[in-house]
């Protein structure tokens, strides 16, 4: 019979299956709660949302009321922009350029023509969710101005305007074929451009034209007018639910465009809730760790005669610790595997509802890493406790 087998037979005496079961049950509950809440949190704050728009926030300078009456535009100062760029949650920042000239657009729909005064804005190309091949304008050579408009506007037209006026409804694909005439005037000049809708945007609640067109048109038709300070900026961020964003906007009196403000609030509340639940899981895990330590001490106390004798025979403290360490590592590894399986099963119950809310699931790696970290800390904590206890019993008796 080998050394380790005989050693194991001596050392496993007094191991109480009841105590192991009690530790395993409580530790499992704690681990499952921690894993599941981390998974839930990573799921709901997952940036890969279905419509791909949560990465972008449109922030507008607040309107104080006076400005709206006098017609004077309030905008971000250069310092304000710089300050915002330096916020940790800002990955990239783009400034909206407003048109300093009048624009009206006409659509010829056979019998019905539609013409309206309208506004244009532009923003750096990298923020526009349009095909780059279609998103350019070179003065003099390009005769069609590409336009991206908010998807909301299309919906507004289709369901609000077209149906009440008996106008044809327009689909995404059809819209590209619409012949649009943009009439631009200002600085004593007037010119008609052909324009084409190249896309509908979820992240932009505006009518956008390429920056190159805007810069050129502003220089020609707005001529010499002092530059208007921008009143809206677009920000790319990793976590639109970050509470710091909300706080920053509130502190500075900025407004957030679209319904992302709500998403941010909701995800903040969900974040707080999951933190509380994860906290409960952590407390249970801590208690189970206490139970593990007590069981270990009790076992070592019951077996102290054997361990002392083994060390008098010439066994090292590491050989004796090794047996108990392997046992605890094996139990904890098994518990981790079971907890991961439970987490996977539980998270499957919310994947459906979340997906229908436009949130696709996240990778379980963060949750698994959190569980593994807890498991490893518990294992090493227990091993250190065993080692210290056995080391103490090695010291010659006084």
């Amino acid at each position: 019979m080998t050394d380790s087998k005989l050693l194991g037979r001596l050392l496993r005496r007094n191991i109480s299956p009841g105590q192991i079961a009690a530790f395993a049950a409580s530790s499992l509950v704690g681990l499952v709660i921690i894993l599941t809440s981390v998974k839930f949190y990573t799921d709901i704050t997952s940036t890969s949302s279905a419509d791909g728009s949560t990465d972008y926030l449109v922030i507008s300078h607040g309107i104080s009321g006076v400005g709206s009456i006098t017609g004077g535009a309030e905008g971000f100062t250069v310092e304000e922009i710089e300050r915002m760029k330096n916020q940790p949650w800002v990955k990239r920042l783009g400034i909206f350029t407003t048109a300093g000239f009048s624009v009206s657009a006409g659509i010829d729909l056979g019998d019905n023509s539609l013409s309206t005064a309208l506004f244009l804005e532009s923003l750096p190309d990298e923020f526009v969710d349009a095909e780059p091949s279609q998103w350019h304008f070179t003065p003099g050579t390009t005769d069609v101005v590409p336009i991206v408009i908010s998807k909301d506007y299309l919906a507004l037209y289709n369901f609000g305007f077209a149906s009440s006026r008996g106008l044809p409804q327009i689909s995404d694909t059809m819209s590209g074929l619409l012949p649009i005439n943009l009439t631009v005037s200002g600085n004593g000049l007037r010119h008609v451009f052909r324009a084409r809708i190249v896309g509908f945007s979820n992240r932009l609640n505006t009518i956008a034209v390429p920056q190159s067109f805007m810069d050129w048109a502003n220089s020609v038709y707005a001529g010499g007018e002092t530059e208007i300070s921008p009143s809206r900026v677009i920000v790319e961020t990793d976590n639109p639910g970050d509470p710091a964003i909300k706080a920053y906007l509130a502190d500075n009196g900025y407004d957030l465009g679209g319904d992302k403000a709500f998403a941010g609030r909701a995800s903040m509340i969900a974040g707080v809730l999951t933190a509380i639940i994860a906290g409960v899981g952590a407390v249970i895990t801590l208690l189970s760790f206490g139970l593990l330590l007590l069981s270990v001490w009790l076992l070592l106390y019951k077996n102290r005669h054997t361990t002392e004798l083994l060390m008098l025979e010439g066994f090292s403290a590491s050989q004796i610790c090794g047996y108990y360490s392997r046992l605890i590592a094996a139990v904890n590894a098994a518990l981790l595997v079971i907890a991961i399986a439970a987490m996977t099963a539980i998270s499957a119950t919310w994947t459906g509802p979340l997906e229908s809310a436009g949130i696709s699931g996240s990778s379980p790696m963060k949750a698994i890493a959190a569980g593994a970290a807890v498991s490893i800390i518990m294992t090493f904590g227990a091993i250190i406790a065993i080692r210290r206890t056995i080391d103490r019993s090695f010291s010659p008796r006084r």
């Binding site: 019979m1 005989l6 037979r9 025979e313 010439g314 066994f315 080391d391 010659p396 008796r397």
Partner: protein, 218 residues
Amino acid sequence: MIQTISIHGLIPEVFADENAGLQSDIWLSDRTITIDRGSRVLVESSSGKGKSSLISFIYGRRTDYNGTIAFDGNDIRLLDKARWTALRRRALAWLPQEMLLFPELTARENVEIKMSLTGWRPAEWIEEAFERLGIADRIDAQVGRMSVGQQQRVAIIRAMAQPSDFILLDEPVSHLDTESNRAVAAFIEEEAGSTGAGIIVTSVGNPLLLNYTTTYAL
């Protein structure tokens, strides 16, 4: 390897206060007592004079003494755990008076667990040893079910299942008849002879039958 064990001014702490009428060759000895590898030393006394304490001090099991014990001039109080572990595997064979076998293991397993540590002697050595000491029929019995005399012989075999420079035997034959005493003595003498080990034996008047080079009264 340990060549000499030297003892100087040694006294168990429990005796330190009442040493007035102490008559001992070892306790509080002014001169250094040196025990060489290869020697045969008998430590004799009546009960309660600290024989087991002396053996426990030398084996590093207890440190509740004043004075100095040294291996080759090195104070054994300064040895660390790893060193003691190595000495117990390679240099010091020990038979405690209370034997300290594992009662839940068989006689054979009690020896095997020591051999697994030392790798000393081939496997068949165990059966030969049990045969020589007259307990071959009990080799697979659980130690907890053996008589004290049988257990004493198992413990002696276990103590021999390792290389050694010194063999410390605390009342090794207290439960054995003369015939068994002779068998044990021959066995130990042979094992010690193969390694050149020194032997330190304690006794209350029924010593292991060896040819002692020195006898101390404790």
